[in-house]
Structures are given as C-alpha cells and as structure tokens.
C-alpha cells in the first residue's frame, strides 16, 4: 500500500491563449465538436439549477406564464413563505449539528485507531485491520431495520442524536482504510527522531502523525461530510418528528405538503443547494481528488 496519495497535480500542458484557441477551432472540426459537446453538457448541469433559482424569485402565475432563467423581478416572498410555513430553517440547523457531531465522533474514533494500525505491527494488527475492511462493500441500507430495532430496544430512538452513532459507524470502514494508507506514508525517520528526543506515543500521535497526515484528514472529513449531509434514508427512519428532521427530510416533507406552491418549493431547493455550492467552491479540488482516490482504492 505505497500508493501515491498526493493530490492530483496538473501533469501536463500549458494553457493556450484565447487567440490561438480560436485559430485552432477554425481549422479543427474535432475541437469544435469537443467544445459543442462540453458546452451542451455544462448547460445540462447548470440549467436545472438556474431555472430553480429563477423560479424561487417568481410567483406561481409567473412560473406558469413562461419559461425564464431570469426572474421578472427579485421578489423574496417565496423565501419568507418558506421560512414561516416550513421547518426548513430548523432542519438546516439540525443538519449542521448532526453532521458536526458525527464528524467529531468519527475523527475521535478513526484517528487513534488508524495511527496504531498504520504504525505498529502486533499480534492482531492484521486481524483488526481486516475486521474493518470486510464490510466496505456493505451498503448502509442493509443495516437500516436492524439499526432501527437496536435504537428502539435501547430507547435511543427518543434521543435526537442517536443517529450520530449510525452515521459515524457507517463511515468508519472507509475512513480507516484511507487514513491507514495516509499515515503509513509518514517517514519513520521523523518518528525515530522524536523518540530520541524522549517523546511518548501520545506526543508522537498528536504532534507528528496527525499534523503530517492532515491531507488525509481533510479528505476523509470532506467525503464524510458530503455523505452524512446528503443522507436521506437514515434521517427519514430515525428522525420522523418535524422539529428533529434534517434538511433532506424536511425538503421531501415540504415537497408533499406544498406540492402546488412551485415558487416555495424552488426556494426550498435553493436553500439546500446554495450552502453546498459555497462548500463546493472552497473544497472542489480536495473533493475531486479525494473522491477519485477513494473510489479507485475502495
């Protein structure tokens, strides 16, 4: 497992200047076709979201009258109606808390365990590592009803943060796998130098291994964030009460409750998409490299 986990860097190439691009476009139908396809697909990715954004500022009458990517006027009525009539705002807060707690618990469990599994060889180290890996292919949906029963029997269904345990546990196998790979990359000479200076195992863990594998930590946090924030089915089953719902469940509830209030529904969708867009703009490169590394190695 000496796989190179460095972030993808530009491997080749140079950027052509605008003028040269146009010159090449004229002479080369293949490049023209390439751009046509790419622009068409960009449109298919952007138009649904732009259309929803535009509709979130329009009234039902305007939405029905014609298709428009630009709203006739910027009118926040749909947003105020959404905030007063639905629990989307509360649910947004719930999602933030639940996701943050899950990520915290996940790191507290995964980092020390990965440290031991990556830096030590002992009698059961391989067994424990394989124990974590066997379930990497088990889809979360298979565990749904047994988890529900477990929470019901132990009375944890009444506790709004029980779901955090399910979320964190669901991410453990994959995160251990990635984290062990990252922590093995830290050269042992750094560790040896620290031992000579009299550092104990805790110091080595907190001062050397964790800081030196921060790329890996950022990757697992981002990937787990997306998985937990976007989860629908666990939240649907474990948190049915309106005041405890997460954003994904609240959106679906609003969809059936305000089925004909298209402006309000568009506003709710925008309320869910915009924070993700902001997150995406900041973490785009980490997300892309993390997801492709995770997929190929997983």
């Amino acid at each position: 497992m000496t796989a190179n986990l460095q972030l993808a860097r530009p491997r080749i190439g140079h950027r052509s200047s605008g003028a040269r691009v146009f010159a090449r476009l004229k002479n080369n139908p293949v490049i023209l076709l390439t751009y046509a396809v790419l622009i068409l697909n960009s449109a298919s990715c952007l138009i649904p979201i732009l259309w929803t954004l535009s509709n979130s500022f329009r009234s039902n009458t305007q939405i029905f009258s014609r298709f428009s990517l630009i709203p006739e006027s910027v009118n926040f009525e749909n947003f105020t109606a959404m905030f007063t009539n639905t629990n989307v705002l509360t649910a947004f807060g719930n999602s933030v808390i639940i996701t943050a707690l899950s990520l915290g618990l996940l790191l507290v469990c995964v980092l020390p365990a990965s440290f031991i599994l990556a830096r030590f060889t002992f009698r059961f180290s391989r067994t424990i590592y394989s124990f974590f890996l066997i379930s990497i292919f088990v889809p979360g949906i298979v565990l749904l009803q047994a988890l529900y029963q477990l929470f019901a029997v132990t009375g944890m269904l009444n506790f709004r943060f029980s779901i955090v345990l399910a979320y964190a546990a669901g991410q453990v196998p994959f995160c251990i796998f990635l984290m062990v790979a990252y922590m093995r990359e830290v050269p042992s000479s750094v560790e040896e130098a620290a031992i000579l200076d009299g550092a104990g195992v805790w110091t080595i863990f907190t001062r050397i291994i964790v800081p030196m594998s921060r790329n890996g930590i950022v990757t697992i946090v981002i990937l787990s964030f997306v998985a937990i924030w976007n989860d629908y089915i666990y939240a649907l089953v474990f948190l049915p009460e309106p005041q405890r719902q997460t954003l994904t469940v609240a959106l679906a509830a609003a969809k059936s409750e305000y089925a004909v209030n298209y402006g309000l529904l568009s506003a709710a969708a925008i309320m869910a998409i915009v924070p993700v867009l902001i997150f995406y703009l900041f973490t785009k490169n980490m997300l892309m490299s993390g997801m492709s590394a995770g997929a190929v190695k997983g």
């Binding site: 190439g13 790419l38 298979v142 565990l143 997929a295």
Partner: protein
C-alpha cells in the same frame, strides 16, 4: 513498520473505533442476517421459520419485477455513466482551455443531495410548466408532453435518469485521473502515425484505462442495486408498483407492512446481489489483459 515498540495499552487507541463499528455496523448486519430466517412483526418475539422468507422472495412478483428493473437500471447506468464519463475524460485530458470550468461544472451535481435534486426534478418533470415539457413543445415535439412521473410507462425511466445524470461528473473525475496517468508517448506516437481522434479513443484511451473501467462498472451496478432515495422521493414506487425496486420494496415491507423478517431477507438479497456482481466483474479476465507495462513497445500498442 514504525520505530516504536508496541505495548498492549495502546489497544486503548483502537477501542473506540472497534466498539463503535462493532455495535453500529457489524451487529446490525449480523442481526439482519438472523432476522431474515424469522417471521417477525418488529414488536413481538421473532419466530424462526427457516428459509420461508427466501422462498417467498421468488414468489413475490413485485420483488421479481423490481429485480428486472434494477438490472435495466444497472445496464443503463453503465452505458451512460461509464460511456459519457470516459468520453468527457478523453475530451478534457489535455487540459484544453476551459478545463477548470468544465470539470467544476460537471462535478457540481455530484455533491447535491438526492433530496434537493429530486425536488428540482419533480419541478422539471411537471406536466404544465416543467422545463422538459416546455422544451419538447418549443422544438415541435409537443405530442411527447406528459406527466413523466405519473405515467407508468415513463415513471421508472424518468426517475432513474436523475441519479444517472447526477453521477456522470463523478465518473468523469475518476476517468480523468486514469487517462491523465496514461503516458503522453502513447498519444504522441498515435498522432504521428496519423490516427484520428476517434481511433485514439478506441485504441489508446479505452484499452489503457480498462482497470478503471472495471472499478466504475462495479460502482455503477452496485449503486443501481442499492439506491433508495431517488425512487422513493420521485415516485414512491408508484404509480401502482410500477417503479418499485428491491430497496424501496424492502422499506415498504419493513416499515409500512411490518414484515421485519421478510424485509431482512430482501436486505440480504440486495447485499448478496451487489457482492456477487462485484465478484463476477472482478474475475472477468478480459479486463486484466491490457495494462501499461513500463517498457511496452509503442508500435504494437497503436498499430
């Protein structure tokens, strides 16, 4: 590995992860396995009934047509996601002008939640003002206008189109990393030999990224097998049972019909199907034939 001596106290470091994972992952899995051999309403004590649930799986016409549906879904997912992902990756390989814009835009739908995406598409599929019907009307195909999600003939395809559409960017990113790892020499010598871009795609890009294609085929197939959200949110399995898939049927049987034992058997079926298909694809030797040897003769590869 490390320079330190292991002491058994260090097992305390591993304990939280092992405990969390054993209680909330391994235990539920084992419990589901055992529950699948019982008749259980979720409240009273489960009653062992042997393989009755598994026999029932085969007599359950909704489940059987659901399996047919996920096979169609898996096939379409492989064709569209792997196909378009690879084509877009080949187009973007050379970091053409606009590279960052295109990859950024294509990947964005991947991070949107299934719930928000389903909401957007419910609006898009709307019979009267939905963007899809308006588009069809504007290009003179108005006769195709319909309520996409409530017509039993189109509902399933309309629903699975959403996750397939959303995932293309994810596959693009995986393939992009793969095709950018193919040494430039292959492309240069192919161009010198006068190969057309289409030939380069078929003879260089595809054969040299088969290992990644295999991973992506597995991802596409297993995601079709286990996906619950989109069907549940867009059609709830309806109209009738015309869009039920095993995942939604399991939810319906467990949490609405209170057949915990039978629901567990469906859950195990989903797991076994995913595992079997993954193992089958992994063992398919045709994916293993082509690799990138360090000193491969270039003429042989591109000839």
């Amino acid at each position: 590995m490390g320079a330190m001596k292991f002491r058994s106290v260090y097992l305390m470091f591993v304990l939280p992860a092992v405990a969390l994972y054993a209680i909330f992952f391994i235990y539920p899995f084992v419990a589901t396995f055992f529950a699948s051999f019982t008749s259980w309403d979720g409240i009273s004590a489960p009653v062992f009934n042997g393989l009755a649930n598994y026999v029932h799986l085969f007599n359950d016409s909704v489940l059987m047509s659901g399996i047919g549906r996920i096979l169609i879904w898996a096939a379409l997912a492989v064709i569209v996601k792997v196909g378009l992902g690879l084509v877009f990756a080949a187009m973007l390989r050379d970091r053409i002008a606009g590279y960052k814009f295109f990859t950024g835009v294509f990947f964005f739908p991947v991070v949107i939640s299934s719930s928000a995406m389903s909401l957007v598409f419910t609006l898009m599929y709307d019979k009267d003002f939905g963007i899809i019907n308006q588009f069809l009307g504007s290009i003179g195909l108005g006769f195709l206008k319909q309520a996409w999600l409530s017509n039993p003939d189109t509902a399933f395809y309309a629903a699975i189109a959403v996750p397939i559409y959303q995932d293309i960017g994810f596959f693009l990113i995986i393939f992009l990393a793969a095709v950018q790892d193919i040494p430039n020499e292959f492309y240069e010598s192919a161009r010198i030999d006068g190969a057309s871009p289409f030939q380069i795609f078929c003879r260089v890009t595809v054969p040299l990224s088969l290992g990644t294609v295999r991973v992506c085929v597995i991802l596409a197939v297993t995601s079709a097998f286990k996906t619950f959200d989109y069907i549940f949110l867009l059609t709830s399995g309806g109209p009738g049972t015309s869009t039920q898939v095993p995942a939604t049927w399991m939810y319906q049987q467990t949490f609405q019909a209170f057949q915990y034992g039978y629901g567990s058997a469906i859950a195990m079926l989903i797991f076994v199907l995913s595992l079997a298909v993954s193992a089958l694809i992994m063992s398919t030797s045709s994916f293993n034939k082509v690799r990138i040897p360090s000193k491969m003769k270039l003429q042989e590869t591109v000839a």
